[in-house]
Point group: C2
Chain length 169, copies 2
């Protein structure tokens, strides 16, 4: 079954049981989770985030740097005051370097100047160690002038083989 047909079928079941149409826009528990897009990561179930509680930002690696635009909107317009950064074991970001990925993309379309120019503009934000990258992202947020002073920033890892969350910092 193609993905879009699957969405409609699954969503029908969700709609039939839905009773949360009254929830307001600002997150009830005033926190934001920054985590990875990885298919084995599911913040709501893994961390017990109820619908309406928190903003969840996800990107390749769970990069805080990549999440900055969203964090500013979350804090300034929607009142969140705590940020939890989660990276996870066996992350794809541990498996490559920006230069390798740029080469791979260029090699797929040799001589295409638009592709080369576009990919050379992207820093892919890979990392070599999960706990160190969590610490670096927490530091990035704590020191960034756009993040509100007094924000509680915590750092965590998630283990995809055990399902376990661990506080790092």
């Amino acid at each position: 079954m193609s993905v879009h047909l699957e969405f409609l079928k699954k969503n029908e079941q969700y709609v039939a049981d839905f009773d949360k149409g009254h929830l307001p826009l600002p997150p009830a528990k005033k926190y934001t989770v920054v985590t990875c897009m990885d298919a084995r990561v599911e913040p709501a179930r893994q961390l017990g985030i109820e619908l309406g509680d928190a903003h969840v930002i996800r990107n390749a690696g769970g990069s805080a740097k990549d999440a900055l635009r969203s964090v500013v909107i979350s804090q300034r317009l929607l009142g969140t005051r705590e940020i939890a950064v989660f990276h996870h074991t066996d992350c794809g970001m541990l498996t490559f370097l920006t230069n390798d990925l740029r080469s791979l993309v260029k090699a797929a379309e040799p001589g295409n100047a638009a592709v080369a120019e576009a990919v050379d503009k992207i820093e892919f934000l890979e990392f070599a160690d999960v706990e160190e990258s969590v610490k670096a992202d927490v530091k990035f947020l704590q020191e960034n002038p756009l993040v509100l002073k007094g924000t509680t920033v915590t750092g965590w890892t998630y283990d995809v083989t055990t399902g376990k969350a661990k506080r790092v910092i």
Copy 2:
């Protein structure tokens, strides 16, 4: 209860029932969802995404532009071949303009040059119409030289008051 204590307690329950430690890194169903960080959005339950199936990228608004780094990693290194963009009703991105948010951030710390310089660098990617923004993001992905040719890109809205997903394009 502070958020980090809540995570540990909820995660303990998750770990006790966890039996998905064998899932591989590449998404089983080879698709990526791009959607909003909104607290009322929960892609796994709302769209029936099983653990291990798909990449889920989330940011303020569900911006495809903001997601490009992650999409390239998802396609080139982890084999995804379909992208579904979801924006939703009552989105925070409908409520402000980049210039207003920049002014608000500067006004919170008058005379702080580091803050002014940092916030002026950010395009906040707000939009005025949910369906139009979905169509624009689908077009952005279809025309972007870094997105693989032949990728199926679909566009959707999610209604936070009814729980209903609707195909736009």
